[in-house]
Symmetry: C2
Subunit: 163 residues, 2 copies
DNA sequence: GACGATATGTTGAAATTTCAGCGCATCCTT
DNA sequence: AAGGATGCGCTGAAATTTCAACATATCGTC
């Protein structure tokens, strides 16, 4: 029973392959994004969520869930984005605890500029290399893993497509 | 041509699914590892590579490549691991620039303890949820992405299985 | 063997992330 | 409507990671 739950060679290779692929891919994407637009992926992620949200704004807590940040990290991150003028805070009208992060017009321009380069890069690194079949497989695998980890409430807040 | 390289809906969903799955998975794995063993994944990764290496030691540069750290990050990380007594430094006998990171017996015990919990968790989060078919697919997808990003020299240094 | 080009590992400071805990608001039960 | 439980967002300090630069060593070539 000691070894019962160990990983066999195939599993080991699968895990390593997944791990390395995501590390290398994100590393490369980060590096390029930063070099070409000055934004880290974390900043880009926040701005890009806001840019898609109705009113170009989101509750802090929802934004944190969507970006998979804890609340503290998001708070600090919004501080910096606000200092740079890409985002501003606004009080929620319905919940006195609530703060809204709102994308400024300058922030919107910034994301757009970055998005162009970013998407290009993702395409080169991922989609140009995987067959249509593999893309479908990857999507399904991702969905299985995601729904296995996040509960329904979290998925909803992330804007995950519920069937 | 402006939109020629944009992502369509399927691609967008695939990318998001991959991104979210790896974030959530690593997040969860990190959190559990830390809670149960006190080690961050970065520390665990370093120690675990060393534990598998011949002589339980590696050149700093090779270890950095294997962990996908830059040299500076590895240097600081080894500082901390050395302070905790899990690792010690040793000069290379063949290259006067070289430093070897060597796993101490205490470090070895530490990884072993952590590995047990870690592997258990990876199994629950990943392998218990994916079919054999999906595991095979994921492995191949990972390999395609990895070889698309890292050059042959880097792969070799990572200990990547070359055919 | 001298030369510049490249590789190795470290350092210190700056930027970012993590961690523990706070104050306040809303929710839920009674 | 009082009470506690929970949710929200923020803060400051500690830990970690990033960044630019350095000193030294090896490599390749002439």
């Amino acid at each position: 029973m000691a070894q019962a739950r160990w990983l066999d060679d195939d599993e080991q290779a699968t895990w390593r392959s997944f791990l390395l692929a995501s590390k290398l891919l994100m590393d490369q994407v980060e590096r390029d994004l930063k070099k070409e637009s000055g934004l880290s992926f974390a900043y880009y992620d926040v701005l890009s969520r806001l840019s898609e949200a109705p009113g170009k704004s989101m509750r802090m807590a929802d934004l944190a869930v969507a970006c998979v940040f804890d609340r503290s990290r998001l708070s600090h991150t919004i501080d910096r984005l606000a200092r740079d003028g890409w985002v501003r805070r606004q009080e929620s009208s319905t919940d006195a605890r609530g703060q809204l992060a709102v994308l400024t017009p300058e922030g919107m321009k910034e994301v757009r500029r970055a998005a162009k380069l970013h998407v290009e890069r993702v395409r080169e690194l991922m989609f140009d290399r995987l067959s249509a079949e593999q893309q479908k497989q990857l999507r399904e695998i991702g969905e299985v893993l995601v729904t296995g980890i996040a509960d329904e409430a979290a998925l909803r807040r992330m804007g995950w497509p519920m069937d």
